[in-house]
């Protein structure tokens, strides 16, 4: 499989979608793990926060009482990993009373129609 990959010069469009709240399940954490691993493969990576997934990048999370590590600040590493296509669904954000200044990163705010179009363009995407 690795030999085949070397012949594939065109970058694949891959998307990681965060749609569940962090800490109640492992999904958001695994999504972040995937983003940081994928970044090493030099592909066309997009990251989208939608539904309760928008809470994954909320500032000021305090997970002390849960015993679960607060990984939200780690999303800031996306910039150092050259992941530039970071999006947040406007409706999801507004329905939850969140503003851009409440977030640990600065995603581009997109409408549902744009989200749909982006998803159609991906070669593969993973939901977390």
């Amino acid at each position: 499989m690795n030999e085949e990959m070397e012949e594939n010069e065109e970058m694949a469009k891959l998307m990681i979608v965060f749609r569940t709240a962090p800490y109640g399940s492992i999904y958001a954490f695994e999504g972040l793990e995937n983003v940081l691993i994928m970044a090493a493969y030099d592909q066309d990576i997009s990251v989208l926060f939608v539904d309760d997934g928008v809470y994954a990048i909320k500032k000021g999370m305090d997970t002390t009482a849960t015993g679960i590590k607060n990984f939200s600040p780690t999303f800031r590493a996306m910039e150092a990993y050259d992941i530039e296509k970071v999006f947040i669904d406007r409706t999801s954000m507004e329905e939850r009373g969140l503003k851009l200044e409440d977030l640990v990163v600065e995603p581009e705010v997109v409408e549902a129609e744009a989200v749909e179009k982006m998803m159609e363009e991906q070669k593969n995407f993973f939901m977390f």
Partner: protein, 119 residues
């Protein structure tokens, strides 16, 4: 078509692993290629040879192992997810190999479709 299969749910509790198995078999029967099956999150629990279901039930791990050896398909068990759940290469059955999350990225790059089976 080149498929990648991703399983994120354990055996028996939900149908996810059974569905993934049936899908993989059906895809092979139709002449499609299965590049890799990636066992992730609770899905890593499908790989343990310690499972002992009741005799009149299907044996999910043995079904998978047979599929791997008969068709030469690569089964990768995510190392970080496995370690969390007490799975290592002393308990993984024939056909399952421990591997990194990068192998899921490779699959996403190479496969025409990665199909995920979850609860």
């Amino acid at each position: 078509m080149k498929f990648g299969i991703m399983i994120t749910e354990g055996p028996y509790q939900h149908e996810a692993s059974d569905s993934a198995y049936q899908f993989t078999k059906a895809a092979l029967a139709k002449g499609h290629e299965i590049l890799r099956v990636f066992f992730y999150q609770d899905g890593v629990l499908n790989s343990t040879k310690l499972m002992e279901p009741q005799a009149d039930d299907r044996h999910i791990q043995k079904q998978w192992s047979a599929l791997a050896t008969e068709n030469g398909i690569e089964f990768i068990v995510c190392v970080a997810a496995a370690k969390r759940r007490g799975i290592n290469d002393t308990v993984t059955a024939d056909g399952f190999k421990i591997g990194g999350l990068g192998m899921l990225t490779e699959l996403a790059i190479e496969a025409d479709r990665v199909v995920e089976f979850r609860a």
